[in-house]
């Protein structure tokens, strides 16, 4: 990632953990209870202007991203990492490449996703087909064709898996825009080799 990307500066004010009161404090506690962690991540704090929406975001993220579905957790983190690279979101790329590592991806694969160079990543034929589709939808969903989807079916992906891949791509389109619009500082999970508490 270039310096420009990693030197994110905060652009829109968020409510910090210590300053949260009332509904915002309650929403932060909702995230803490759901995650079992204490320090609210920047992207979650970006939602502090609407604590009711924050709680819903915790719920739908758990439903569609942080659980097994039609797609495995590992495939969801591949999608999340690659979309975040394509949308130039250093915050999300750092954290989801780390989650991808936690899902058992080897160092070479994680490095490939961090660099946006999937040639280097240790991927199956089906995973490569899926990542090509992720790129098409992220760079312009309107340009995707029935043939692009057919190639996924031929690679072995089922209709419900393709649908869920689109939900995950869209989820990251949303969070990448929120993190970059707010200018959320990178958490450096990859460099630290662990999450914040």
């Amino acid at each position: 990632m270039s310096d420009v990307l990693t030197k994110a500066v905060t652009k829109i004010k968020v409510i910090e953990d210590a300053d949260a009161t009332d509904e915002v404090a309650e929403a932060y506690d909702y995230w803490r209870a759901s995650s079992g962690r204490t320090k609210v991540p920047g992207v979650i704090k970006s939602l502090s202007a609407r604590p009711d929406f924050l709680k819903q975001a915790v719920d739908f993220s758990n439903t569609i991203q942080f659980s097994e579905g039609h797609l495995s957790r590992r495939h969801k983190e591949m999608i999340g990492s690659y979309v975040s690279f394509l949308n130039s979101c250093p915050y999300c790329l750092d954290s989801h490449a780390f989650f991808l590592k936690m899902q058992g991806a080897n160092d070479q694969t994680v490095a490939g996703f961090l660099a946006g160079d999937l040639e280097k990543a240790d991927l199956t034929y089906a995973e490569r087909a899926l990542m090509r589709y992720v790129k098409i939808v992220t760079e312009g969903a309107y340009r995707s064709t029935p043939d692009d989807v057919q190639k996924l079916r031929e690679a072995g992906w089922k209709e419900e898996q393709i649908a869920e891949a689109v939900y995950v791509i869209a989820l990251f389109a949303m969070f990448n825009r929120i993190a970059n619009a707010f200018g959320v500082p990178v958490q450096n999970y990859m460099a630290m080799g662990r999450m914040t508490p």
């Binding site: 202007a49 609407r50 819903q56 439903t63 309107y142 209709e159 419900e160």
Partner: protein, 104 residues
């Protein structure tokens, strides 16, 4: 001028024509929905007072649990007054949809 022609003059062809690519991923249609998908569709009908599921919501038919979340947070953040008015939210939605070339 027919309705169809009028629509074409209001939305530029390069956006309007995107829908000509047709359906790419299968949607679960109203009539073929079963189990929890049928239940989630019924919940939308009861909440909206309408009968035919909009295409954008049918895109979520493969994960009815997620569809429910989508309906809820859309109401929370878009289809209600907030820090911004409903009118400003629809200005934002219309312009983002134009910029992302989403004719729907």
């Amino acid at each position: 001028m027919s309705d169809e022609q009028e629509k074409k003059t209001l939305m530029p062809d390069y956006i309007q024509d995107i829908s000509k690519l047709g359906l790419k991923i299968k949607l679960i249609q109203d009539a073929e929905a079963t189990g929890d998908t049928a239940k989630a569709y019924d919940e939308w009908r009861a909440a909206s007072g309408r009968t035919q599921m909009p295409g954008i919501l049918k895109c979520f038919g493969q994960r009815p649990d997620f569809l429910r979340h989508v309906m809820q947070f859309s109401n929370t953040v878009h289809f209600s007054e907030g820090h911004l008015s409903r009118r400003y939210k629809e200005m934002i939605a219309s312009y983002v949809s134009y910029l992302n070339r989403c004719p729907y």
